[in-house]
Symmetry: D2
């Protein structure tokens, strides 16, 4: 099917660190060689991707001299120019080097916090140069293993201080970047600050430049806490804060699996794609940013498997998009939604102009409501769920 062939219009993007993961895990050595970022750019472009993203250290090894740094950037830019791939998002590595073992923005060690801010600012300059519109913050090391070790309120003060300062910097430089915070409940820290989409949104509400800060939720991260990812994305959209998204797969509460998108909870992936693609006004997209895959090719795969897995992410997304379109178009689904009163939830509870006094005066709302009769109505949600399952399975 031709519409399963990705094109840049699909806005698929990948991190350099995804295909480039050498498959070193807590119990095993690397199983794959490094990949030159330039090769990644060409490969992704050949596959129909739209863009590529990176942490500073993915492109420029930590501690590189300036001339080496410039050379890395130059080669990368050339590949971008050659392929037309864009860099819509950039982020900082504040977790690999031992200096960040207690975090970057919230390390107990003030010298490290200052160092982290400098590292971010330097990479923000590069992000702006490369035309990125989003700068992601994954605070994977901002956390603790024991409650004794971290004054969480002080940590949140420092986190805010850091983000506020960087926002000032971006504003003053006129970079036009927006920030996106990426929540995760744990791993590598025992508990990570801002563990869920909710906590990140709540934190953002306390920021000076809250208008330019949103979230970058990752499928597996929410599912590691047993949370419903579609619900989380919905709340982020509701708050106007879905600035970026990380797509992958996970099998519930365990270590971070970073599977190919769809290779985890397939039904949730379907409802997610439906929300993103068809959940907007008039049934259009609810989100128009990059569909960013933040996954890891399995450690058992060789380089051929790596590139195959990259393509599988996109193909699965497009398949789900087809299924979601058919689901929405199905008259039985449309009727079932009405039967289940799903659209009725968009009708305000109070009528236009009605006040609580009016509601208090409306005896039909309470005094004379036939409670047992109303309670007896079935919602037929099972039917809806079955229709969705059958659409996912291509059985309708």
């Amino acid at each position: 099917m031709s519409d399963l062939r990705p094109t840049p219009d699909d806005k698929f993007t990948f991190g350099l660190w995804t295909v480039g993961w050498q498959a070193r895990d807590p119990f095993g050595d690397a199983t794959r060689p490094p990949i030159d970022p330039v090769e990644t750019v060409h490969r992704l472009a050949d596959m129909g991707a739209y863009g590529v993203t990176f942490h500073d250290d993915d492109l420029i090894p930590f501690g590189s001299e300036d001339t080496a740094r410039d050379e890395h950037i130059k080669r990368f830019r050339a590949a971008l120019d050659e392929t037309g791939l864009v860099v819509p998002m950039v982020t900082t590595n504040l977790f690999t080097h031992p200096i960040f073992k207690d975090g970057g923005f919230t390390s107990n060690d003030r010298a490290i916090r200052r160092y982290a801010l400098r590292k971010v600012m330097r990479n923000i300059d590069l992000a702006a140069e490369l035309g990125a519109s989003t700068y992601v913050f994954w605070g994977g090391r901002e956390g603790a293993e024991t409650d004794a070790a971290k004054d969480v309120r002080a940590a949140l003060d420092r986190y805010r201080e850091g983000i506020d300062l960087l926002a000032d910097y971006v504003v003053d430089r006129g970079y036009g970047l927006r920030f996106a915070l990426e929540p995760k409940p744990n791993e590598p820290r025992g508990d990570i600050l801002l563990p869920t989409v909710g906590h990140a949104l709540a934190f953002i509400a306390q920021l000076e430049h809250r208008e330019m800060v949103g979230v970058n939720p990752e499928v597996g991260h929410e599912q590691m806490a047993g949370l419903n990812f579609v619900h989380g994305i919905s709340q982020a959209l509701w708050a106007g804060k879905l600035f970026h998204i990380d797509l992958n797969g996970q099998h519930g509460p365990k270590f971070d699996q970073d599977l190919v998108f769809g290779h985890g909870d397939l039904l949730s992936a379907f409802f997610l794609v439906d929300l993103l693609e068809n959940g907007g006004p008039g049934g259009g997209p609810a989100y128009d940013g990059p569909r960013h895959f933040d996954y890891k090719p399995m450690r058992t795969e060789d380089l051929d498997g790596v590139w195959a897995s990259a393509a599988e992410n996109m193909r699965t997304y497009l398949l789900l998009k087809q299924r979601a379109a058919a689901y929405r178009a199905d008259p039985e689904v449309q009727q079932a939604l009405i039967t289940s009163k799903v659209p009725e939830l968009s009708v305000p509870t109070l009528s236009d102009g009605e006040t609580y006094s009016d509601l208090l005066a409306d005896t039909s709302a309470y005094e004379s409501l036939d409670v047992e009769a109303v309670a007896a109505r079935g919602y037929a949600f099972g039917r809806l769920d079955q229709l969705a399952v059958e659409h996912v399975m291509g059985a309708r």
Copy 2:
């Protein structure tokens, strides 16, 4: 030890539904008779509790006629007067009756949403009459089992509409009540809206009367999502939103156990009590509201066991409070905190008056920092954790 005998100054409160739980569970019938709320008031007062809380239906059976309702309230008031017990918090039951099977504020059925608002308003009047200062909202039925069944953004619109309307009502009536939202990730619904402290705080930030709405986190609810409760409470305090708290015990992600406080994750309970009692300015309390136990006496217990369990909640809290005081007072702990740079996290990352330009100009922060040397420093967090464990165990 005399200071293990609770007094009203300890501000211990219990819900009528806690000791009054008849131990009906998803696979079993009630094992205990109902308890007259008047008896509960007397028992709790005798034990040294400060107050009692209730859902409307705990005190006044659903569907009672007005005269019966008045009688229930009158008897209850008399017991309060007699004992001196107060009612600092009241809440609504929007989950037991079948009419709420798809929620109250966010039911797809608009008639039910209107009915729910009326039910709440009626009970808010009673709460105000009884002198309550906090009104809790646990939206246990606000959720779904399948993503097909609920338009989450519309649901959040309706949730906000409901809370905004009720806040208006409270303000207009001059009731002086504050609202506290109680998050829970799931059960009885497959997924509940506002699943964690974070999601609730984020929601509150979107409300019209956000200043009068905070959270009522429950130990077990956050732990059902594998989240660190002390971190959640810290973020709530940081946002100025810890309006109430539900204390109990839980063994990680599974059904809601509602064990006696401390009879789950004991170390977390210790750090929680330490935060509440000693985490405020100058080492005073960080929270001064009721210490509310929202637990269930185990289904294996008879009525003697019920009352014993109520006392155990308070005794365990007081024991942990003693341990936390000793922990804070221990010079080795104080030294260990400094060694681990815990207080240094309260020092802003930028000096007073320093700007990002100054930071950029400070070569000692980045260019000349001895990264490897700084990275090599150990934090000695293990020592702190061990000191805490030993204090919990009364071994120091």
Copy 3:
């Protein structure tokens, strides 16, 4: 599609308690009326089911007089005769009545253990009379909330004593029944004995009549512990112990959801059906017993929704069976399995007649093996997973 219409040959069975669940949950009252078992028999037969199963108390209310009991049985039998529905499995309710609040076989109270054995024996007689071939034991109340309350080794002694005695009874009476133990990790008890398929299999190995005792795993129960259900079923089959199976849906570690089959982890449901239907010798079935649905229609549904949900279980199973057949028949899948060396795992590690001494003498196995070259081979497991996902989605 005609092959999506269930027939008795599909061996679909349902418990009376599934469609009959009145939707009482820990926080809510019943939302549906009881259903007469006779109606259930007729409805299931009309839908193409093969059989019906029950706990004693589902058919005969606890405490019924003998004459009432006989009448219940007589009406039920008549319905079976009329419809041709069979009763392949029967089980005992040792969990609803308060007397079992600390368990049946392993209650600390010996009188209760004796009572439980009598209750089971009585119902085993009925099971035999009705021609059942499997008797299930779900020990939902055999467990504890605190380690202080239960001597687990003594409990396992009593559990074994009970099962051994009942096996003797069945053997002596010539009933021809086999026993199937159903594991569950928790709920309603904090921790249940024999929490997983593995623990149950290990327990069975210690029984006197171990040859007549197997397991009855339930999808959701293993997934509540985050375990892979297909792996569990595989180990049960490997041990020759898959005597019965309970099909439903679940979203990971949380309360027991008992969703419709497939309405949880759809990919796992696909691999399960593939294993059951195509995992036997020559690609035939690996299991030939009833496909038993142990689910609960959602609490939001009315009786129409109840019957619809019953049909959805069967339809989803049959759809997955079609998808699995297509997956197996796909030449690309067959080639991919070979590429991934999946069949090579069935080749013994030692050659026919080879001993460890021969292996020690085989320098090609170790001394001269090109370890790095072997290590570099990719397994292409991602390709296999993607093929499965696409077959589930009907996209190939």
Copy 4:
């Protein structure tokens, strides 16, 4: 307290890989230098440990030439001789090198399975030479990320083939070693074979030399599946299969934390120590093997922190042992156990010589039992739990 100073009689042992962990994690580089195994031996001896354990590759880097290998062994032996430390357990690393990326015993690649067996045999020779009595098998790579990739029944055949062959080898050589299988549910594989104590025990029952194979359960591994570790150990003891034990700490279902013993679920650690130390006949030990710590010093710690953490494991164990002794000795606890009928569970359900026919004839057991009266009895389990909590806290 002098009895908190460990001595070899306490039988505390540590893996070389525990203190020696360089703190490389999935998102970060090593934060600590390697430690010479000879230094570890001396340090552990100085602290009062009893023994040291290792994977082959911990002592002898993978791929070492024979002369280098001999030298490593010689230096290690000398340290053992000098310090008196023993080596009660040895194990094999079948997980770090990329060759094992799909497992050792159950790799789909037969050449790798043969290689793995050879690697184990070689190290078994060394284990025997060093006087070890237990050989552990942790099959961390025996598993899969997708059900498509692994024929689990074939995998179990190969697993059994491997263990059977190695058991033959050990028997024939007269090594006197026993095998202990270590279960883990996941990480590094998406799902690991033999995921829990139960699954491992069930597998052992299928082995040729089942009498010489037991389990080596690890605290955190069972808790990663939300299972009760004390229950798992009890079932292993009940089966006579607790051959070794790995002590550490974990905070529920998430990545494998390997915290210091007690620094996770403290109440469970208490009941575990009580079981091991006092759960045997006459209140003596239920287990007399090594108390083996398989933990990881946190990544934030330097080498001083590493050695401190080793000592903390032992100290916490000894503290809990004191608390457990006091708990057992407390007359209130003894009375409470009787009240809760805990000892009554050790009384067989049938009287001596009683048959099921006798039970059927005993109308007091069923027909005339006052079910409601028996059901109304409370078990007072809450009291027991509270007594335990207070003993853990040193408050009695």
